[in-house]
């Protein structure tokens, strides 16, 4: 495209300087504090952080909820995506629009809706009491279930979009051919659909998992201080204790977990193929 490499680099330079000066440098300075103790480089901060039972619980809870949200998103996402790609063009557009619509609404509004739905007088508890499953309303708010549902609703559209894109590239006759050859639906999925859509799954899984790890509003509103996650703990350390070192440690852990998830998913997908 360019006559020489220098021209290309020159055009990329402003964006590179912008990113380096306003993102990489400040983030680097902030995170570097997490590797220092009394001015010298050390991992002691991480050892201290990991040794506290509360931090262990919060770390495992964050990992568990991120994994569960990604897993359930993938299961529901595949079913949705399969339906969407088999619709005719007009209906496909409408359904796809409905999937994308929640992404255009503020996460705060979406999360507050869950407070109404999951509350003692909300429709879920009305249904539970109405069906005789419980004599009194059960507590759903400020539980891991509430945070899980909030995160699932928040990020599942990203998984569906990724899987729809991947499935659109699936050869039209691949599934019918497998069925004609006697494959059961589970075999069709594991032997045909999954290998051919793995890139979409890796992309969607990474987006959903990292999104769940780093979302703040939903765990803060639906979990509160009873269901602390790493991101709400980070906020607490900065805003309550002015403890930027712990915040830097948590931020580093979240970044490593995000990259780790992406690498792991890519490895799994390449191992399958």
């Amino acid at each position: 495209m360019f006559q020489n490499q220098r021209e290309g680099l020159a055009l990329a330079l402003p964006a590179a300087i912008f990113t380096a000066a306003l993102f990489l440098l400040p983030v680097g300075i902030l995170l570097s504090e997490a590797f220092k103790v009394d001015g010298s480089w050390s991992l002691q901060g991480y050892i201290d952080f990991a040794s506290k039972p509360l931090n262990q619980v919060v770390f495992l809870r964050t990992l568990k909820l991120g994994f569960l949200v990604a897993l359930v998103s993938a299961v529901i996402g595949y079913a949705c995506a399969f339906c969407i790609v088999n619709l005719d063009g007009k209906h496909r557009g409408r359904v796809f629009g409905l999937i994308v619509l929640p992404l255009m609404i503020s996460p705060v509004a979406r999360t507050y809706a869950w407070i109404v739905i999951l509350g003692r007088t909300g429709i879920v508890n009305d249904a539970i009491v109405g069906l005789g499953l419980s004599e009194t309303p059960i507590r759903l708010l400020f539980t891991e279930t509430a945070v899980f549902l909030g995160l699932l609703q928040l990020f599942m559209p990203l998984m569906i979009i990724s899987l729809v894109s991947a499935m659109e590239n699936l050869p039209k006759d691949a599934v019918p051919a497998a069925r004609v050859l006697g494959a059961k639906w589970l075999q069709v999925f594991t032997r045909v659909i999954l290998p051919l859509t793995k890139d979409g799954l890796v992309l969607g899984g990474t987006l959903v998992f990292t999104g769940s790890l780093t979302a703040y509003i939903t765990p803060a509103i639906l979990g509160g201080s009873k269901v602390l996650m790493l991101e709400t703990l980070l906020y607490q350390r900065v805003n309550v204790a002015n403890d930027f070192v712990s915040a830097g440690i948590i931020a580093t852990i979240l970044i490593v977990m995000s990259f780790g998830a992406n690498i792991l998913l890519k490895r799994i997908s390449s191992a399958r193929s």
Binding site: K52, P53, L54, V57, I115, V116, G119, R120, T121, R139, L141, F142, G224, S225, K226, L228, Q236, V238, N239, V240, A241, N242
Partner: protein, 339 residues
């Protein structure tokens, strides 16, 4: 000669105008109701002093961090904070002792507001009582210990330990449970044992109001400043008068060390603490007055922490005790309650 005179007069006028514009007071305040405070306090004062008030807001941690970071060359001249946050700044040597002869209204303040953290490092400008708000149609609250009783099981919220109301609740719960000692160990452990019966540990009174209006919570400790959120609501909320009494706290005003703007800061403090301004602020239900000469109607008083009898009866927690023990409380809380 005429031209010379006109020129020098013009120059003098310009210099005077520039000086008035340069007269600037930077204050650090709570984010709460700033539009109302602007009309009731800042705008009238700006007219009197011919100066500009620069308002900085944020949570206490941010505001304290900024004062500490700029200690050598203070940006903030005057600030308002909780008494224990003010004491924390004073212990770091960031505040200057106040010359109360420059604050004539100081003599009219309730005694506990005149020198709340010692060495005249701050003066109180507002009180708040903390008690339990509850649904009187569903439950009766007679004691702080009722918060951990079966009658509110699964329908009670407590303030988080990291907020201002958290330690106050521990203080009164300890009193009700007969637990001695400022480390609150037994009380935190008792809350830990009942943690599954507690809906949440709220951070903001607005969050609690929402949960109570949604019938999720029927009893919780809260500051009187939030009472207006409940008093006109569709449910019969009541302000408890527990047998152990009410607790509460005080917000104070302070001056940063070596800010170089002391005269204007004293003028502003005096204006804020004056009977006239404190009455105006009280009538707008923005703050409960610390000036004992303030008189408000019964209707206004209902929303405030008002009157010497009530203020003197508050079981306040010592500011020094809060600072000295807070880390220990949070560690124990994290271990037993939110773990």
């Amino acid at each position: 000669m005429k031209y010379l005179l006109a020129l020098s007069t013009a120059l003098c006028l310009m210099a005077g105008a520039a000086q008035a514009a340069d007269k600037k007071l930077t204050i650090s305040v709570y984010s709460f109701a700033q539009d109302a405070f602007k009309k009731a306090l800042y705008d009238p004062f700006e007219k009197i002093c011919g100066c500009e008030i620069v308002v900085e807001t944020g949570n206490s941690v941010e505001r304290m961090a900024k004062i500490e970071a700029n200690a050598a060359n203070p940006v903030v001249d005057m600030a308002v904070m909780s008494s224990h946050d003010a004491l924390a700044l004073a212990r770091k040597g960031l505040l200057q002792s106040l010359d109360v002869s420059k604050i004539p209204s100081h003599a009219d303040l309730y005694k506990s507001a005149q020198d709340p953290i010692g060495n005249l490092m701050a003066v109180g400008y507002g009180f708040y009582a903390t008690s339990i708000v509850y649904r009187s149609d569903l439950v009766t609250i007679d004691s702080w210990a009722d918060l951990l009783s079966d009658k509110v099981k699964g329908r009670v919220a407590l303030p988080n330990i990291t907020g201002t109301q958290g330690p106050l609740t521990l203080h009164m719960l300890s009193k009700a449970l007969g637990n001695e000692g400022i480390d609150f160990t037994k009380t935190i452990d008792a809350i830990g044992e009942k943690k599954d019966d507690i809906v949440t540990f709220y951070g903001r009174s607005s969050q609690l109001a929402q949960l109570m209006l949604q019938e999720e919570v029927i009893a919780a400790p809260v500051g009187r400043f939030a009472w207006s959120r409940f008093s006109g609501a569709k449910f019969p909320f009541k302000w408890a008068e527990p047998k152990e009494g009410q607790t509460g706290g005080m917000n104070v005003m302070l001056m940063t060390k070596g800010n170089g703007n002391e005269e204007l800061a004293y003028q502003f403090m005096e204006y804020w603490l004056s009977n006239e301004t404190q009455t105006r602020i009280a009538e707008l239900k923005l703050d409960s007055p610390a000036n004992s000469k303030v008189i408000v109607s019964d209707e206004i008083a209902e929303s405030l922490t008002y009157g010497g009898e009530l203020i003197n009866s508050l079981n306040m927690l010592d500011s020094g005790a809060i600072i000295d023990n807070r880390d220990g409380w949070v560690d124990r809380w994290n271990e037993k309650v939110v773990n």
